[in-house]
Amino acid sequence: MRMEYKNFKEIPIYPKRDLSYDFLGLHWENPFILAAAPSTDDLDMVRRAFKAGWSGAILKTTSIEGTRVDLCYPMMSTFDHDGRRLFGMGNIDLISEHHIDVVERNVRTLKQEFPEKVVGASIMAGRKDDWQRLVERLENAGVDLIECSFSCPQGNIGEDPGKMLAQSLSATELTARWVKEAARRVPVSIKITPHVTDIVEVARAVKRSGCDALTASNSIQALMGIDIRTFTPYPSLGGKSTYSGMTGPAIKPITLRTIAEIARNVDIPILGTGGASTWSDAVEFMSVGAGVVQFCTAVMHHGFRIIDDLTSGMGHYLEEMEFRSPREIVGKALPHIGSHDDLPRRTIRSKIDRRLCIGCDQCVVACRDGGHMAIDARPDRIPVVNDDRCVGCGLCQHVCPVDNCIRMEEIAIQ
């Protein structure tokens, strides 16, 4: 017999862990904020996100009144992999259709309603005056942080269409200087692109400009796929298509490398963005140098509710690691990254755990045709590694579908 009391409300009983810390001169309730994207383009959506527990948001990139934002639809596409949706997500979105007048109003309202949250705003312009006007108006509205989009992959408001601002060192430094000049009160972060020959040079240019931080990095330019019967790539707009900005889990390793490379070479605070979906992704981003982590695709897929797992997971992780604050994670992985020359040369061999092996023999074929022909199939389907042929490349370990079944073990050199 189902019976419910109509005023029932679930009461949380497990104490929430304090995840707050300071970064960029700002106080963050936790390291999780919303990236500049559709989720931050609407006042009600940001309100809901803040209530759900996000510590801040970068409002979607805005511009001076009158700037033309010529959107076309559909703008989204997806890179599905092995039956999984949104492994990568593509968009041909542009900056916000809301100009600075709307955004300054939103900033004001949000700061009034949520003084403890970090309200950032993203801007983009062409002329010096416009960049500086945007900064001034946002500062007056009470913004906490300004992010400059130097990396919108879908065109740019500027002289060199198709090229991103952050792809030119001189333009980056010059524009960043204009912005920093105008910002009297709040920190400025430059959102860069990984599509450059040397990310470190870009980071140095930003550093020279005097700006406070980098947002690294944006989406990856991609052609999301092609309909092989009509030969139209995705997304298809009446038979035509264009390159998309790809985001989501698929780009995480690229972002990790970008952040790590900057952090190893330039002393500048970093806001991480590009491919984070879980609390452990955030830990990884922070461990290579990000001070906070921005989320976009994961929220567009599953909603603001993912913050519950982000904060809970981070809390338990800190406890397990005996860290007092998320700050302690920042940079933890950097000392472990070096050049190829610095790596130790060891003699290792593949070891298959007979008790765990389920006999799919995928390692056999992978090694036979892609490794060193070092794994022999057996009638009982439990393969055996030939130590004389195995060089320890590790391929088999990564094709094995069973947790911990294949390990690489060091062997004594005879």
Partner: protein, 420 residues
């Protein structure tokens, strides 16, 4: 007991979950565990967070994780089931409670309000209620005749739920209220009421129904609860007949039949007066009993138990299903004349339902079925006395009883805090 999920199985299963929004499973679980979220937590590797989420909603998380009939609740509406197979939700929350329980992080309760509530009965509904009351800062006394745990402790066979699993729940709960051992009786009931701001009846159903058939009092004929309780508390000294007949047709009769088989009976026959389609059992239970070798004879009615000193057999009569239906909507079986036969047996177990066991509830209003009447706030007809669980619902489930307890606790809280 099906084996628990391994880490990898749990992860693969979590990856199948669609993470539905406003998910139907959450509504279908009487305790409204936030299922997609706790599964997402397993997927992200936050098993401790997952366990906390499950525990927050369901005081008997481990017990339900082991024996909750998910196929009639959460799993029956799983969206993924429309694509291929529904998610193994119960197995997943058993996984979360097994691997995610942390000794470091205990639920934090508010300061005491100074008010006291008595919960009579420490079964699923009583424990669920006491825990929820503690969340509001009440001092709660749980009066329990036996060890806390109710039917799951005393009667559910240990091959389905063992004491260790149940104790994972009761141990965590025990610090939030006081257990007072001993039965509440007509005399003590008034005292208990007088010394508390409210009292909750959570005494379940302790009395076996009888068939009213000749020979029911012969030695060797057991009421089912008595049989299961003895089988669980002292399986070694329990003497099992070679041939056992179980009279029933519900889940409880299946538990009894499978238990008899496990304890060494050579031949166990379950007789049921209707057909398989009319049997109100959880599929998993019937399968388990059959797997253990229990024979089920449908369309069979007992007419007498034979034997003088000890039971020697059951005289049965075949039935057919008539056109007329009873209150439950199932056809009424009609006995077939001249179809009598005898099933020889050294032991007979009668499992035809339970009723309330308490002679001190005389003043309380009851429904025609005998269970207590409550209003939408779980209030009985007696002032400041509430009731939850099987005592209002009849034979129910653990999760539903826990949910009753939770909801009643909040109704009680609102009532008590409205007072000047």
């Amino acid at each position: 007991m099906p084996p628990s999920l391994s880490h990898q199985q749990a992860r693969i299963e979590a990856e199948r979950c669609l993470f539905c929004f406003d998910a139907p499973c959450v509504k279908a679980c009487p305790t409204h565990i936030r299922i997609p979220m706790f599964i997402a937590m397993i997927r992200s590797g936050n098993v401790k967070g997952s366990a906390e989420l499950v525990r927050t909603s369901n005081a008997l998380a481990m017990t339900c994780g082991t024996v909750c009939p998910e196929e009639i609740f959460c799993q029956s509406v799983c969206t993924r089931g429309k694509q291929d197979q529904p998610i193994q939700i119960r197995e997943k929350h058993q996984y979360a409670t097994t691997h995610g329980e942390s000794s470091k992080r205990k639920p934090a309760l508010p300061p005491r309000t100074g008010k006291r509530v008595a919960v009579i009965g420490g079964g699923p509904s009583g424990l669920g209620c006491a825990f929820e009351l503690a969340k509001f800062g009440y001092r709660v006394d749980v009066y329990e005749e036996k060890k806390p745990g109710g039917v799951p402790r005393n009667s559910i066979p240990s091959y389905r739920l063992n004491d260790k699993q149940l104790e994972m729940d009761t141990k965590l709960l025990s610090s939030f209220f006081t257990i007072k051992r001993g039965p509440v009786s007509a005399r003590t009931f008034d005292k208990v009421r007088a010394s508390h701001d409210a009292a909750v009846l959570a005494i379940g159903l302790g009395e076996d129904r009888t068939l009213g058939v000749k020979g029911e009092d012969v030695k060797g004929v057991y009421p089912v609860l008595e049989f299961l309780e003895r089988a669980k508390s002292s399986p070694r000294t329990m003497k099992i007949g070679k041939r056992v007949v179980v009279v029933g047709g519900g889940n409880v009769s299946l538990d009894a039949a499978a238990t008899a088989k496990r304890l060494g009976a050579e031949r166990v026959t379950l007789i049921y007066r209707r057909g398989e389609r009319e049997m109100r059992v959880w599929k998993s239970e019937l399968e388990e009993a059959r797997r253990q070798g229990v024979e089920v004879r449908f369309l069979t009615n007992p007419v007498a138990f034979l034997g003088t000193k000890r039971v020697e057999g059951v005289k049965c009569r075949e039935t057919i299903l008539g056109k007329k239906k009873d209150r439950s909507g199932r056809p009424i079986p009609v006995e077939v004349k001249g179809s009598d036969f005898v099933l020889e047996a050294e032991m007979v177990i009668i499992a035809v339902g339970q009723t309330i066991r308490a002679d001190w509830l005389g003043e309380l209003k009851r429904r025609a079925s005998g269970y207590l009447v409550v209003d939408e706030r779980f209030r009985t007809s007696m002032a400041n006395v509430y009731a939850v669980g099987d005592v209002i619902a009849g034979e129910g489930t653990i999760v539903q009883s826990v949910a009753h307890g939770k909801h009643a606790a909040q109704a009680i809280h609102h009532q008590l805090s409205e007072r000047p």
